[in-house]
Symmetry: C2
Subunit: 244 residues, 2 copies
Amino acid sequence: MTGSLVVAGLGPGDQALVTPEVTAALAAATDVVGYIPYVARVAPRGGLTLHASDNRVELQRANEALELAAAGRHVVIVSSGDPGVFAMASAVFEALEKSPALHNLDIRVLPGITAMLAAAARAGAPLGHDFCAINLSDNLKPWALVERRLRLAAEADFAMAFYNPRSAARPHQFARALEILREACGPDRLIIFARAVTTPEERIETVTLAEARPEMADMRTVVLVGNSSTRRVGRYIYTPRHAD
Amino acid sequence: MTGSLVVAGLGPGDQALVTPEVTAALAAATDVVGYIPYVARVAPRGGLTLHASDNRVELQRANEALELAAAGRHVVIVSSGDPGVFAMASAVFEALEKSPALHNLDIRVLPGITAMLAAAARAGAPLGHDFCAINLSDNLKPWALVERRLRLAAEADFAMAFYNPRSAARPHQFARALEILREACGPDRLIIFARAVTTPEERIETVTLAEARPEMADMRTVVLVGNSSTRRVGRYIYTPRHAD
């Protein structure tokens, strides 16, 4: 068993945000596995097999990658952003847990620029103080838990980043999340909608919670909410380092 | 006023984790400003002036960079990790707030691989579910607020990342943080001490909260705490994507 598995983050979209470590791993790969639009970011070449699969088949994709690596291939699973943040790394270890025979496989996770940090950089420094990251999708957890975490995060006065805020399959939950935030944080709290960050379709919009509308987010949007001190300076948004 | 200011993240240490975007910004700079060990990571060359300063002078450093940019220089402020996570970006906007004449200055923040994501990648996928990031230093906020956030984060069952867990000036607070976590999360919760990640001095150690000792952390350590489902698989630590 001399194969290997690398779980690599491609960053938010711009090639200038792909780390040299990930570029080198892709250059050494025999197989690249991932969700269709992420695999499409890898240049085809001789000796490299691309395995593109649909969304929502993370475990199946992780198993496929483990099997290829166990068969001696040098496999890279690609995620957008960072593979450890609501992406493929956790799915790979979940699949590994069910395959004890593979526990000695050579697996490496290579970090990437995750969407919330790319979005924060574009806006200024909205995550410049303690913050949290919440996946708003209830595919893998009950919605009640999401609501509970939103309330506790507001009580802790964390700045917040939301991944997967809204999809066609569940259009009403993000409206509910905004309601909870308005109750807990007040109408003047700043909220940033960052869509397709660092790609040609990038759009960054900052409004108050009073002005926020559910339609401002879709599945390509990461949403950032400031803490009670987050403010505008010139055209930037920042959260002060200090707190009372 | 045709100067510019870039606030760039150098990542956790390994040059292979510096994004091409940051490398290009450094190649175009006339001046690099930053804390001594970070400026030391930038190769000297003709036409580039290096301005290295001591720690704990973030605002002064931000002002110096703004003044150089206002005078027409192309300035890069370097942070380790990501500049927006407990680093220089917030200090720059704080300095900008006090200098309204400079609000039209060309300022860009370039993201980097922040320590918690590099550490998580080395360990496996401990931040694979909702998580929070807390700066444990009380230089800029009351310690009582840190304790409050630890309790709320545990109540929300967030995985957690702690920056600046312990310094010579405040050796006892991290012991108190561990006490609070043991009370709130129980003795079996996994905690990862990741020191000098991606450098030759890297050391990653995973223990339970019962086994954790304050001396396991210093100022070069980022500490990760799992949520209630975080577990070992083989030699990796991961947090499942799903929750009940």
